[in-house]
Subunit: 287 residues, 2 copies
């Protein structure tokens, strides 16, 4: 840190260029047994099927309603998230965020039995704060839906909406009662994963980050893109190897595996952070 | 200003929500005789035709090379900008920005005879600084190319790249000599004009602005979207009515006319700023 913040030093980076990017699911908060937005979608799909029972017989609704993990995993990360995005088509963007906030206020993690906003990683909260205290601008770059994440990222991570980049659907400007309102469409805009992450970083930030933190193969392109710039660079992944305090998983998590990036971390110059060995505390103290 | 910055007051807006958005061409800098990026494209097209004479016979190259204003205007704003974007396909994004910076360092405005970075509007520079001094975050939301604007916006306007939103082409992550590099493609991503502006504001900022400044019908959706939120709001347009100090134009400027927005400004609650009557100085002192 001293190297990039010491003015006049050989590795000095002006504050404006101190860009740090973080994946969200599995990097800033827990993504087991499924990504939080998928669990949210599951509840939402149940509510929709109650209102319209015919839905319950249709795939992929049925898979979600039956908690059929094999079928859900078979959809793949993009398939699952596309379903999650599509079922909110027709909602004004702000109404969607209100629904997310209401759900987060009452839903609890099935294993850890605490609100999802408290299954965030304590060491990462400290790292975000440390980076900002040293003039870094911290961004989230995640496959999760951008409107979903923005509903809590400012409050929970201290990351304002304009520094949250994610997957998105197209929106349409509609005039209702003489007022302009943006409404979510079913059509995917970008699925912010793999090679799309660097492209979205450029579109939204316009600079190559100097620090990137991820936890899956979906982050590899972002991590390597970050390392490929000039000057001092840092890329890290969380390796979830602690089944006591959290969940141990990597290459077998179908919805977002960590395989190649773990195997070739040293080759790429990516630091591997072990939850078991490197994190004194995993979650914040219970409130 | 006091109303939104006075804590405890009825109209107080927390600093995080003080979002101001500005169009660029014709709002922050001069767009006559043509938008600066179109003039840049004209020079670039000439250079390409020198290297490959067959290009000179092809439209729309021919129109640009012949300075055929009727033909250029006939393309429309989106057509002209699409051409501007497409001719840089295949370039790494950073190389494109280097080219823009080199061009800006030597090119001069044909009528005002000064660098384009000095045909920015002095009152707007003061307004940007005033807003930032009062806790506002200032964004550019323009039909211009995002990479083009980011090449000078931080230096000239004090607006960092991550606060510049514009039209964009798709980019592709390519590996060259083992290094990841984003390359511009010919395919348009978004043309950031009219109803697309609010959609891009939501995608990039995730909040409805409380202040918006534009100068053409292309800004009307953004201005009205801004006004349609709750609480104190401000929307303004520059009306270019000073042919002595700048150029007087509005409804006849084919590439970006101001017609309906001017005619219905009072109805929409949009303030009209007259260059002739309201601006003591138009451009910064010559350097």
């Amino acid at each position: 840190m001293t190297a990039v913040t010491t003015e006049g030093g050989p590795d000095f980076v002006p504050a404006a260029e101190r860009i740090a990017v973080f994946d969200n699911d599995g990097t800033l908060w827990c993504e087991q047994p499924l990504q939080v937005q998928v669990l949210f979608t599951l509840d939402r799909a149940s509510a929709m099927a109650m209102a319209d029972p015919a839905l319950a017989q249709r795939q992929p609704f049925k898979a979600f309603l039956d908690h059929d993990m094999a079928a859900i995993h078979a959809l793949g990360k993009e398939g699952v998230f596309e379903f999650a995005f599509a079922i909110h088509a027709g909602m004004p963007v702000e109404a969607f965020q209100d629904e997310v906030r209401q759900w987060l206020a009452s839903a609890r993690h099935p294993k850890l039995d605490r609100p999802y906003t408290q299954v965030v990683y304590q060491p990462q909260l400290e790292l975000l704060a440390y980076l900002r205290a040293n003039g870094f601008k911290t961004f989230i770059v995640s496959g999760g839906g951008v409107d979903f994440m923005r509903a809590f990222a400012e409050h929970v991570y201290g990351v304002p909406p304009e520094q949250v980049i994610g997957s998105s659907v197209k929106t349409e400007l509609r005039e209702t009662n003489g007022r302009f309102q943006l409404t979510k469409l079913a059509q995917l805009d970008t699925f912010d994963d793999r090679a799309v992450k660097p492209a979205n970083i450029w579109l939204h930030i316009g600079r190559r980050p100097i620090l990137a933190f991820g936890n899956s193969d979906g982050d590899q392109a972002m991590l390597r893109y970050t390392l490929d710039g000039p000057g001092r660079r840092l890329a890290l992944i969380v390796h979830h190897d602690d089944d006591t305090r959290e969940s141990a998983y990597d290459r077998d998590f179908k919805l977002s595996p960590l395989t190649d990036t773990l195997d070739r971390a040293a080759e790429f110059g990516i630091h591997v952070v072990s939850v078991k060995n490197d994190w004194a505390q995993v979650f914040p103290p219970a409130r």
